[in-house]
Symmetry: C2
Subunit: 362 residues, 2 copies
C-alpha cells in the first residue's frame, strides 16, 4: 500500500551537465539533485527564470483552492438535508417509510450462508420477543463506528463507551467566506449524566497559501492548528482524569490527612483538549501528537462524517496488507474482498483521484 510516484536515491555526487555529454551512456550517472551552480551562467539564469514562473503558478494554485473551498461550502448545503435525515433515522426521531428502506442490490442477502440465516432468525426472536423493548433508531450507531475504525478505536477507553452511547450526530462546519480557512467538527450528545454540553467542538485551522520560506512545497490547504472546547463534566464524571488519594503528614503536629489528587487519564475526550501547535521548536513527541490529531480530524471530516453508515456496516473499512488470510471464515473473506474495492486514502492510486479536504464532501 506504499506505492510511490518515484523514489529518490542518494547517488554519487557531482553536478549533472547533460548538455555537455554527447553519448547517451553519459546520462546514466544523472544526479538526483542538480547543482544549479555547475550550469553555465547563461543556463543558470534561465533556470532561475523558470523558478520565478513556478512561484507564479503556486500563487495561482492558492486561488484555485480558495475557489474549491467555496465550491465545497456550496455542496455542504446540498448534503445537509441528507445528513439531517440520517441523524433523525439514527436517533429514531423519524421512522423511514417502506419505500425509503427498499434495498435492491441486497448483496448481504446473497452472501448470507444458510446456517447464518437460521442463526439470524433465532437471534431476532431473542432480540425482540414479540417486539417488546424494540430499539429506537439505530442504537449505538456512532459508538459502533468508533469501535470499527482502528484510528478511533485506539483512542477509545472502556470508560468512554457509556458516554459515546449518547453521541447522536457528528457534523462538519466550514469557515465563512472571507474568514481564515478552517473547519469545525461538532459532536452532538443527547442529555446525559456525564456532562452538560449538548455539543462538543473541535476547530481545525488551515493555511491555504504558499509558505514564503518554502513556496514550492505548497500542495494545497494544510491544517496548521486546532482548538478543542471545555467539557462541563458533572461532579466526579470526568473520565479524562482519575482521582488518587494521598496521605499528607503535618510537619508540626505530625497528624496525617488524606487528600485527593487528579491525574490525567487516557480517554477519547482528551481529543477536545489538544496540545497547542507552536510553530517554532516543537519537540518530536508534541509534533507526533499533533500530526495524529490532525490526521484524526481530517479523517472525521473526509471519511467518517460523509459515509458514516458504511463504517457502521463495515463496508467502508479497507482491506489491509497485513491481514492474515488463514484467519478468515468464508463469509468474512467475501466481506473483506468487498472492502478491498474501497480506496485507501493513504494509498496513491492513479486510477482513483482521492480529493483533498478542500475538495471533497462525499
Amino acid at each position: 500500500m506504499d506505492r510511490k510516484d518515484e523514489k529518490s536515491e542518494a547517488k554519487g555526487k557531482g553536478g549533472n551537465k547533460p548538455f555537455q555529454s554527447d553519448k547517451p551512456e553519459g546520462f546514466l550517472q544523472v544526479e538526483r539533485t542538480l547543482n544549479v551552480h555547475l550550469l553555465p551562467k547563461t543556463v543558470k539564469r534561465r533556470v532561475y527564470a523558470l523558478k520565478r514562473l513556478q512561484l507564479q503558478s503556486a500563487n495561482i494554485e492558492a486561488k484555485f483552492y480558495e475557489e474549491v473551498h467555496e465550491l465545497e461550502r456550496k455542496y455542504a448545503g446540498l448534503y445537509q438535508p441528507i445528513f439531517d435525515k440520517r441523524r433523525d433515522v439514527v436517533a429514531g426521531a423519524v421512522e423511514p417509510t417502506d419505500e425509503e428502506c427498499e434495498w435492491q442490490s441486497d448483496r448481504e442477502e446473497e452472501d448470507l450462508a444458510e446456517d447464518l440465516q437460521k442463526k439470524a432468525a433465532l437471534e431476532e426472536k431473542q432480540a425482540d420477543p414479540a417486539g417488546a423493548e424494540a430499539p429506537r433508531g439505530v442504537p449505538e450507531f456512532w459508538l459502533t463506528i468508533f469501535k470499527r475504525v482502528d484510528m478511533l478505536a485506539e483512542m477509545l477507553q472502556d470508560h468512554d463507551e457509556p458516554i459515546l452511547k449518547h453521541l447522536q450526530d457528528i457534523t462538519v462546519k466550514f469557515s465563512e467566506p472571507g474568514q481564515p480557512m478552517s473547519f469545525t467538527l461538532e459532536f452532538f450528545f443527547e442529555p446525559n449524566s456525564y456532562f452538560s454540553n449538548t455539543v462538543l467542538t473541535k476547530v481545525y485551522k488551515m493555511k491555504s497559501e504558499p509558505d514564503a520560506e518554502d513556496p514550492f512545497s505548497f500542495e494545497g490547504p494544510e491544517i496548521i492548528d486546532c482548538e478543542g472546547c471545555k467539557i462541563d463534566w458533572h461532579k466526579g464524571k470526568d473520565v479524562t482524569v482519575r482521582l488518587i488519594k494521598k496521605k499528607q503528614k503535618h510537619k508540626g503536629r505530625g497528624t496525617v490527612r488524606t487528600v485527593t489528587k487528579e491525574l490525567p487519564q487516557d480517554s477519547f475526550f482528551n481529543f477536545f483538549n489538544p496540545v497547542k501547535a507552536s510553530p517554532e521548536g516543537m519537540d518530536v513527541d508534541l509534533d507526533f501528537t499533533l500530526t495524529t490529531d490532525f490526521e484524526i480530524g481530517h479523517f472525521f471530516r473526509e471519511r467518517v462524517i460523509p459515509r458514516a453508515v458504511l463504517y457502521f456496516t463495515g463496508e467502508a473499512l479497507e482491506d489491509d496488507d497485513s491481514y492474515d488470510e488463514e484467519d478468515l471464515e468464508e463469509g468474512e473473506e467475501e466481506d473483506l474482498d468487498d472492502e478491498g474495492e474501497e480506496e485507501d486514502e493513504g494509498d496513491f492510486d492513479p486510477k482513483k483521484d482521492p480529493p483533498p479536504a478542500e475538495c471533497k464532501q462525499q
Copy 2:
C-alpha cells in the same frame, strides 16, 4: 510512507449487536463487518434507509466533481501563459530579462561549499570558453527530468535518449464541457531524424459517476482507459522494434535466403502504443501494465507538467524511506532534507491535502 487511516483485521465471526449488550466490555469483540441480517428487522430497515441516503450523497458528489473539473479547466487557462513562457525559455526562443531571472532566496548559494564554488568556476570555463558554442535555452530540460524521476527513468532506454533530446514541451489538455471527462498529454518535439510527428499524444479517459454495481466505492473521477497515437517513424528509426535476420531454406530448391524480422523492444515510446483496457476478464499482467500506465499518465499530469523545473533541479524529488544516509555527502544531505519537505502524493498526510486530478493544476 504507508501510513493508513485504519487497518481492518479479520477477527472472530458472528454479528455485532451492540444494542443488546449492556457492559462496555461487551463491545471489545466488535466485528469488522456487521452482518446486517443479525440486526432486528426494525433496525435493519433503518440501516437500509441510511444506505439509500448514502447513494444520494454519492450522486451529489459526482456533480461536485463535474464542477471541480470545470474549475480546473478555468485554471488551466490561467496557468497557460506561464507554461508558454516556460516552453519558450526552455527552447531558447526567448531570453528572460535580468529582472525575470532574479532569484532572491538563493538557497543553492548558501548550500554551496567553497570547493564546489571553485569547481563550478572551473567547469564554467570548460563549458563556454569565451562564450563559444553557448547552449540554447535549457538544453535537455525534459530529458533530464526523465532521468531524475524513477518512474520515468524505468521506461527510459539508451536508444530513447537521443530522441528525447528533441522533446520541447509536455502539456495537458482537458476535455470540453459536455464531453466525456478525459485529459490528453501532448509531447511536442522539434523536427528530428527519428519520426515526422511534431506532437505525440496520449488520451486518458475518465469516469466520474458512481459505479452502478458498487456505488459506495466512488471516490471521484477515475481513469478507465487510455489511447496512444501512431508514431510515423522514419525508415529504420523505430526504437520500439529491433530487426533480426533469419535464414529461410526453400523447401523445393533448398536455397537459403535471409529475411529480416521485427521484434518488439523496450522503449519509452511504447507509452504511445498502450495495451487496451478490456472491462471484463482482464488478466493480471495486463491489469498491472494498465495500472502502471495510468499511474504514469496521472503523474505527468499532476506533478511533472505543473512543476517541471522542480524536477529538473531535483527540488521536487521526494525523500525516500529507503535511502541510505551513510551514502550522502553533506551538500546532498541538505538537498535531500529539502526534498523531504515535499509531499509524496502516495503518502496520506492529513496536514496536507493532495488534490485529485480533477481538482489540481499545480
